[in-house]
Symmetry: D3
Subunit: 61 residues, 6 copies
Amino acid sequence: MPIVQIDMLEGRTVDQRRELVKKVTEAITESVSCPASAVTIIIREMTKEHLGQAGKLRADS
Amino acid sequence: MPIVQIDMLEGRTVDQRRELVKKVTEAITESVSCPASAVTIIIREMTKEHLGQAGKLRADS
Amino acid sequence: MPIVQIDMLEGRTVDQRRELVKKVTEAITESVSCPASAVTIIIREMTKEHLGQAGKLRADS
Amino acid sequence: MPIVQIDMLEGRTVDQRRELVKKVTEAITESVSCPASAVTIIIREMTKEHLGQAGKLRADS
Amino acid sequence: MPIVQIDMLEGRTVDQRRELVKKVTEAITESVSCPASAVTIIIREMTKEHLGQAGKLRADS
Amino acid sequence: MPIVQIDMLEGRTVDQRRELVKKVTEAITESVSCPASAVTIIIREMTKEHLGQAGKLRADS
């Protein structure tokens, strides 16, 4: 605990995901006072053809 | 808001996903009175070897 | 299959959720050609103090 | 996009959730270069009787 | 890892959830060879007015 | 119902997933008294570069 699921568009580098995990874990430990070891982060990437916003595929907007 | 996550078997075309996003967004805006711009839809596709129903892999049934 | 998870702000009536299930199921069956019996919809409601947008709690914006 | 779902034990204050949203949004915008307005965070709280770790209810450990 | 999310209708007892965590953890450790300490299970309960099946609220069927 | 989502590291065989579905379904039916036909299991696999634990990518630890 806490378990974090992040769904985002594909295309980020491994370094960006590394930074994402580091900074999001810090943000959580600082705000809800839990140890970093308690934080699990799942990152899921999707294509623009798997994301809908305002009724349209993101690939179409 | 609302955030919609749709997990379904792989194999649909981009046009089907396009239609899915359009129609599901309409369905939501009409039923819970929110603007289309508020609706985000995440579509995740899986293989039949990643879906279990009634104790079996869908690939086996 | 498909499994649909809808996270949205609390406050809708049972009738609105009834309509939401009906219309979203129709939208899915029409767009990805699956039977209505295959569609499961989970609706989760949250307070404005459990939703963050643009860095703020929705309750604060 | 990105959509963040945080599942954690109940018991945090509104201020902690406010801080959580602020800091997690900053962490994401800094690491994957997206605007804060693109970030949606859903916070779900659960009891210790709804969390299992290492085969036990958290309420029992 | 693995992270398990179980969404089910409300109404089970704490003992049933205790048994659920115990048995699901055993099932996972035996089938994918991971230690029990690696398994986290989140249990979410919902009412029949928050579950849609075959186009209807479960409360209506 | 129940709907089970299992997120785990990639690398398991189809047989392991087959066994996972069989055993997790049995575990659920035995503990919360529901028929096997009611249980749906979604298995999602991820790389070590998409999993964060204790502030680090699993690929780095």
